[in-house]
Symmetry: C2
């Protein structure tokens, strides 16, 4: 096979290019769909501009934030500039910046297509469910292809240019930095707008949802795009890069490193290829069930991946045990998805029980929703635990004779790669949701008729159902990835010990009965709850600012409240407030996580950090699952009641259901999904600062 | 000194006896206080009977439950009867039963005095704040003395009779079994009654709180006693025994074991002595602040303990490092208490912010309360982590030359003993709360006038404030105790390996990069959320049954709704339902925790169990802190609004505050405080089943 690694690097680049071509083709296809309705075009344009305003502002803040981080990296990482090799520091900075830039570009592409596809999907709904579905789905797929293509390309390029896996972690950290802004910032933005529009419009003034008189209404629609499309894309870009980076770090530390690194790239490339094929086979017949169409796609892609990796394993003589680990990851991902679905699907017991509790008032809606959310953590935690254990045990024997641990950890990282292999498909499905959600709103605002509304309604509902499965997937994958990053941390520490010629024992693991580890464990476990609380309190504060602005506009703009012809609210001001506030509220939370990692490391050294990462993973997974699932459950409970159960709309149960949904919104769209990113950020900061902890720690 | 251990065993017994004498004297003193009001006597009698009904039923169920457990212990523990020594199994069973019986007796005494002291305190309120305070406080102190006296006595007796510290863990497991019933069962009972009385009475019928027409009103008052007095007592009996048992197990494994074991008993006895002195110096002047009086007491007892242990350390030539570890525990306990106070005190920012959020409706009450509750976990987690680390580092050098770990863990267990040393004082303060709360209700029902109401109001409010500090103490102590129990588990495993002559490596710790440990860690972390969810769902289900019964009584008992002279509701039926339901709902949750421990151990062996306990501790502490503090915060927010802020009673903010309080009730009174017990139960089950896991595990 000659040089395995170079061959697979070339393959990765070719398949990434193929993904870009696909994205370009899909972009053109979606753009070429007919659009003629003026009102839709007008509102659509407002949403587009709003989303661009947010992105521009966000990227501007990011440039400042990342410049500071880049400077710190240049001086301190991987080792202080006065102690290490300056070339390493420059590579690390360059790679960090590349990570942020590639993710930013993918986000920009995604937002750009999403704000076109929503209009196309809305208009196509007048012709039937198939064209409307295809416009929404292919719009989402542009995002999927862009994200996965650029993440694979970036990882491969950094590896080819530097040949240094530590630098790869810098790239991954760049992706995480962006994800923190995109996901947590977008999450605060979207909930600020949502909550303010509801409170100041629907509740106080009694005007309907999506009423154009409401100054926050465009911000609300923009929120769906920046939170759900761009945020989710950046989040999965981050997870995908992190899983590949962790696997490559582990692979590089093994004896036959080139072959194993090649295998990582090969599997990742096959996952992307399978997703491309999946995107093109995605189809639905007129009158068919869109949920089925979306899920079918996931299963088809999964099957293609399984077969192609098996073929590749045979051809390139990879080890079947590693193939098995990756297959375990993928299968467990599907299982976690199904479990998540149980707790949030309105056909299942939990939603029905919570809906019934709504009859007794909001307090019972909350306690029962919290309870089911807490229970929902168990299957996923067992799933992640079992897959990590199985992947480890399967691959560890390859390192017989002293390298079992390294091989075992590599096995876990390959399970994560397996779980994330079909990430292209997952993003496509996930981005489809907010696009058709927006399309539904446009159909309403553009008066396209009841049939079109019915069609977009069913497309929207399918998006919500599918979301549960993809969300389970991404939390599961994040779980495995961060376990692999824990392994990467140990590798980094030991490499640094050798490089620095330190006279300390190599780290072989983190023993919880070591009180330094236990101390880190307890503190690390407290970070995700504090981080999510800071984001939720940020939403509350930001919403108060925005509500004050809505009040001001209604007071000062003559004729606005009455809906006088030609009088329009200043939508921009609300978008501005949501944007500025989101970034302002997010930074303290992000810094808290990063600084506490550094503090624990500088005080307690690498063992405290090992405990810290572990505690962070464990409690982070629990809170991510709890908050996402409770939130999803309350959302569907409200919809279930609105569908006519327990008294239907405006009943007492419905009012309680609305309270549940409002509590669930920041749970599932702000705090819950940002925790993933927080865990990754913490793990990466720890890894790239490993040398620092070894050289300047107090104990 | 001759035989150190025997000497301190005798000292412990003498001081335990002194505690019983004190309890008896206080019981007599409280009983001899004047009582003449007939209405108070009548209602007081109903509450007394109700509480006794609950206890009788609970103990009956316990006898069945414990018989099964005892039988299982007899057959399987510490090792299967066909493999080990039958005498060990019989000692273990006997010790288990003694643990349940002693705790049950202490609970019975506590309930019995609490239901007398509430009447005395109510009546004394007509004479002034001092006599009313003294009746309430001394009533609580009876419970404090009974609990601490019997726990110290029990531990000492078991140790003297068997000389076997493993058997001591059986005693501790007995105490935990009872605590599980008393705390979780009592918690479900009290919230069932509370919620049902409110919903079916206040909300549906619009009759006032504590209206005697409401069939659930007595059950509600009984709930305060069985949940807060008996439950809390059993909980701290359990923690206290567990901390002593863990410390004794660790001490027994050290080289100079007798001296170190003696030191454990000596410190525990001094703690009890300090509490006795504290109880007698407790006093307040007419017109003084009861909160100050209660807190003063805590500080005085703490100081006495510090001085006396220093004197003892000097006289008996104990090691000063160990004294230091115990002092660290005590100081950190006070710090955690102060931090807890910050998050729940209505003079501080969190309560004020949540009260402000109430103006925007219930959803914001919930999200902000959840957020502050989540933030509140950080200081306590850091406090527990730092004290464990400091105690370990301080004591570990004593084992220089290979025994650092054992000494370090012993240091942690002594920090727990230090934190729990003043538990007698804590229970006294804690039991004071529900007594004066009940007294307040009796003053209202007995029409004792506004001045008496004002007095009991201020006493009640002091009880709530002090509760925050004692609660912080008990969670902190539980945290350190379970860390020590993790050490005890390792000791048990290694003892069993030697005893069975197994050809396996001794356990030196639990490395999280071992996937078996990590698997246990993830599953163990999911148990506390699931456990608390099961209890909360149990409250919901039980409340539905009770509401149906209230509806039935109003429908079937003629004249009840109208308040016809001589027509009384069937209070007993409601008490019966709350009791039966509480026990029924509790058992699955308790079994879930126990069975999952056994399953993980039987599947994954001792390493999986080590991870399981660790995950359980970490997530258990987070959820216990979060739920207790959010609940306390909502409670005080409601009271703060009722005091006239943000619109006062019946304002929009107040309605939202009531929703928060109703959500907080099961958080703080059912789920949160039961998690402590759940963690202890899991740790003890693991320890006493260690031999089993070594002999019959799959991997």
């Amino acid at each position: 096979m000659g040089n395995d690694l170079t061959f697979f690097q070339v393959v990765s680049i070719v398949i990434s290019a193929l993904a870009f071509v696909t994205a370009f083709w899909l972009y053109r296809w979606v753009s070429s769909q007919p659009s003629s309705n003026k009102k839709i075009a007008e509102v659509g344009k407002l949403i587009q501009n709003g989303a661009n305003t947010f992105l521009a502002k966000e990227y501007k803040t990011l440039v400042r934030f990342c410049s500071v981080v880049a400077l710190l990296i240049l001086v301190f990482l991987p080792s202080p500039i006065w102690k290490g090799n300056i070339v390493d520091n420059i590579s690390m900075v360059a790679s960090y910046i590349l990570g942020t830039v590639l993710s930013a570009i993918a986000g920009k592409i995604g937002i750009s297509i999403a704000t076109i596809a929503n209009m196309k999907s809305a208009e196509a709904a007048t012709k039937g469910i198939k064209p409307s579905f295809m416009a929404g789905y292919r719009g989402g797929a542009v995002m999927g292809m862009a994200v996965v293509g650029s993440s694979l390309l970036g990882v491969t390029l950094v590896l080819m240019l530097t040949g240094n896996t530590t630098v790869l972690l810098g790239f991954s950290f760049g992706a995480s930095s962006l994800a923190l802004f995109a996901k947590a910032g977008g999450g605060i933005f979207t909930k600020t707008a949502d909550v303010s529009a509801d409170l100041a419009g629907k509740v106080e003034l009694g005007i309907p949802e999506d009423d154009p008189r409401n100054p926050a209404v465009i911000a609300d629609n923009v929120g769906d795009n920046v939170g759900d499309v761009a945020g989710m894309g950046a989040d999965l870009f981050d997870s995908n890069v992190a899983s590949m980076a962790a696997a490559l770090v582990m692979a590089a530390s093994l004896s036959n490193s080139e072959k194993n690194m090649g295998m990582v790239l090969c599997y990742a490339a096959i996952g992307l290829l399978a997703s491309i094929i999946g995107v093109f086979t995605a189809n639905m017949k007129e009158g068919a069930d869109p949920t089925r169409a979306l899920n079918m796609n996931t299963y088809v892609t999964t099957a293609i991946y399984g077969v192609l990796t098996a073929v590749a394993t045979y051809i390139f003589d990879f080890n079947w045990r590693i193939w098995g680990a990756s297959a375990i990851g993928l299968i467990v991902g599907v299982i976690i998805g199904i479990a998540t679905d149980y707790f949030t699907n309105d056909n299942k017991k939990p939603v029905k029980m919570v809906a019934k509790a709504c009859e007794s008032g909001p307090a019972f809606t909350i306690t029962s929703g919290v309870s089911y959310g807490l229970v929902s953590t168990l299957p996923a935690m067992i799933g992640i635990g079992v897959s990590a254990l199985a992947a480890y045990k399967l691959v560890a024997p390859l390192g017989a004779g002293g390298n079992e641990v390294a091989y075992g950890m590599y096995g876990i990282s390959m399970a994560a790669v397996g779980m994330l292999s079909i990430v292209g498909m997952i993003i496509s499905n996930d981005a489809y949701g907010p696009i058709v959600d927006n399309a539904r709103g446009l159909v309403e605002m553009g008066d396209l008729g009841d049939k079109a509304l019915e069609i977009t309604d069913s497309l929207d509902s399918a998006g919500n159902t599918v979301k549960a499965i993809t969300k389970g997937f991404s939390i599961g994958a994040a779980g495995l990835t961060v376990i692999a990053l824990l392994g990467a941390f140990i590798t980094e520490v030991n490499d640094a010990i050798v490089a620095l010629g330190l006279n300390v024992e190599k780290v072989t693991g983190f023993d919880v009965t070591n009180p330094t580890v236990f101390f880190g464990l307890l503190v690390g476990a407290a970070i995700p709850p504090v981080f999510s609380a800071m984001l939720m309190l940020g939403v509350d504060r930001n919403a108060q600012r925005m509500i004050a602005e809505i009040h001001r506009q209604f007071r000062e703009i003559a004729g606005l409240k009455e809906g006088k012809e030609g009088v329009k609210p200043e939508y921009d001001k609300c978008i501005e407030i949501a944007t500025v506030g989101a970034l302002k509220e997010l930074i303290p939370a992000g810094l808290m996580a990063i600084i506490s990692t550094l503090l624990v490391g500088l005080i307690g050294g690498v063992h405290a950090v090992g405990g810290f990462i572990t505690g962070n993973i464990v409690s982070g997974l629990i809170f991510a699952l709890f908050m996402s699932n409770s939130g999803g459950l309350w959302d569907n409970t409200k919809k279930y009641i609105e569908a006519g159960n327990h008294g239907g709309k405006n009943s007492k149960a419905h009012k309680a259901g609305v309270v549940g949904d409002t509590v669930g919104d920041p749970f599932k769209d702000t705090a819950g999904p940002s925790i993933n990113t927080q865990i990754t950020v913490v793990s990466l900061v720890a890894s790239i600062a490993a040398t620092l902890f070894l050289t300047i720690s107090i104990f």
